[in-house]
Each structure stands twice: as C-alpha cells, then as structure tokens.
Symmetry: C2
Subunit: 191 residues, 2 copies
C-alpha cells in the first residue's frame, strides 16, 4: 500500500536491533485519516469472505480494528493482556511472549464473544516473530471458530512469523512488508 | 443519550460492589455502530471548541477515541500504562490508581505528542472515582496544553469523580449518567 509505505519512509524511525518506531502515526499518536485508508484496503482484500467479527489484541490493534469494522459492519472483539495469576473459568487463554517488553502475558478472551459459527478476521498493527498473531489464532481455535485471515499493517518480512503462519494455510495480508532495515535508518520494502 | 441508556439497560450486567459490566458492547466486544453514534454525539457537544487532538488512555478508550476523531478530523493520542521501573526522559508521566485492578500504574505520554498549543478533548469509556481522568488532566497540564473538556460514555454519578473534576472548572459531558445501581440489577439514570 503505497500511501502507507510513503508514510513509513517519511515518519518511521529505525533504531538498532531492528526496531521500527511508527508511534507518530500508528501506535501512540494515531493518524485516523490514514487508518481509514488502511481499513478500506482491508475491506477490499477480505470483503468477499463472509467476515462477521473482527478480532484483535489490546492496545494498539483496537483503533485499527474499530475503524476497519465500520466497513464490514461487524463488531470488534479485543483480547486482553493480563499478568494476573487467576484466569477466570469462562475465558479462553493463551500465553503470548512479548519481545518488546521481555515478558510473557496471559492473553484472554471471554468465551461469550467467540463462537464456533464465527468467521473471524484478525487485525493487528505489527507482525514480526508472530507471537501475538499465533496467540490470537490459538484463541480462535479454542472457540472452534473459522479464521478468514489476518490483516496486518506492517510486517517485518525479514523475521519468520509471517511465513510460518502462511505455511499453516492461514491467509496473511500485510499492507507494508519490510524486506530490510539498516541501523542508519534505510528501509527497503518487499516488491 | 437515549440509545446508550437503552443499551445499558438491555445488555449491561450489575454485580455486587457497584460493578457494571458492559463488555458485550463497549469494552471487550465493541459495537462499532453504537460507538459511531457516540462519536457523533461527542462531536455535536464539542464541535465549536477548536479541538485539534483527542486524548485517551489504553485500552478501552482507544476505539471510542478513534471513531470520534473521524468526526473532528484530528489525530488521537493515547496514554500508555506501564508497570516498568524506568520512565524515559522524553515522556510526561503520572501515577493512576486502578480500583478495578487494585494497582497503581504509571501512565505515560511522549512529550512529542502533547504541545502547549494543543486544544485537547479527552475521551474515555468510564468515569467513577475519576482516577484515570485526573491522570489524563495532569498529563495535559504537564504539557501546558488547553483542556477543552472530557467526553465520557458512562459516568457513575453516585461516585464523586465527575463532580470533583467539574468543580475544578473542567467541562465533563457524560452520555449516560447512572444515579444508582442495586445489587439485584436495577439501574437508574440521572434525569
């Protein structure tokens, strides 16, 4: 998606260790007009798939999921991160490792909001190692629901998460796929 | 807001200790069509105030803020909760006590995204004791920006947060104001 790639080149900041900061428009300050274009593009890609629910994970996925859901006219469900020791009985839960924060969270969703008849589109801001996306997939499988696919804003295609998940037969559509980043700030996108 | 009050009466669940669960439409599963009506109403209330930025706190405020921001054509900034020990130098931070989780979080926002020329509308899902809202106000004051007001979806008007903040001269507009809740599930709204 050209508009997104241009914005990443203009406002993204690269830090050593393959860190890409896009917090001026995506995940701290949010450019809602840009997210609207992103939502339209996810709709174009998945509009014929019978999606009846969008599923994401707090926090930065929520805004993107809600804007996208306006095009599909479906509700959003967001999984919650918890470090609590007690997991309630009426939730699905799975551990998710966060490389950014160096922690493992239990991520939960109320059983009430994922059902076996659901056709679910996953939306998230980033895909790198695939930990968050794999966790969301596990939660959907626990509910016996159908995964239509995953719409990702930015994929670090030089890490293995996306390819591993695609190899399991899950459709993953990333609007910007980064082939490489250098410590001096050069970003190259996959063709 | 009648549509919202009706929805709270229909789908809200009251638990002992003045707990109101609205997670089937507001803060776990999100009815995006309803949030759209909520966003329109916030726009009606604050459209003449020169708002140039919407400010909220993760996680459940983000979706409401993003949908609302579409009407104002302004960006959203969301404050982040952290339990980390190290606060970076380039952020404003304030502690916020969470009654729901029995913890105190440090809440942070990048100094880059709140500026002294900003005219800020705060958006959040709940107002009860006012801890979160007070924290957001503190962050805005740290930046020297102007607080246009706060748009709240549900206020527990029988708790003191809203009145205390109004008494400081801050405009607080809550779309549903709950006067009382009983343990057997009866909800009464303020007239």
């Amino acid at each position: 998606m050209q508009l997104l790639e241009e914005r990443i080149l203009k406002d993204g900041k690269v830090f050593p260790g393959n860190v890409l900061k896009v917090d001026s428009f995506l995940n701290h300050q949010v450019d809602v007009e840009l997210i609207n274009e992103i939502g339209k593009e996810f709709y174009r890609l998945f509009k014929d798939c019978g999606v009846n629910k969008i599923f994401t994970i707090e926090a930065s996925g929520i805004g993107i999921a809600c804007i996208t859901a306006q095009y599909f006219h479906v509700p959003v469900v967001f999984a919650k991160k918890t470090l609590g020791k007690n997991i309630a009985a009426d939730v699905y839960s799975t551990p998710i490792k966060s490389f950014t924060h160096g922690k493992t969270y239990d991520v939960i969703v109320s059983q009430e909001f994922l059902n076996k008849d659901d056709k679910i589109l996953i939306i998230d801001d980033f895909l790198a190692q695939g930990c968050a996306l794999n966790g969301l997939i596990e939660l959907i499988k626990s509910a016996g629901a159908e995964i239509v696919g995953a719409g990702i804003v930015i994929e670090k295609a030089f890490q293995q998460g996306g390819d591993l998940i695609r190899s399991e037969g899950i459709r993953v559509e990333s609007l910007a796929r980064i082939e490489s980043m250098t410590d001096d700030g050069k970003i190259t996108f996959c063709k």
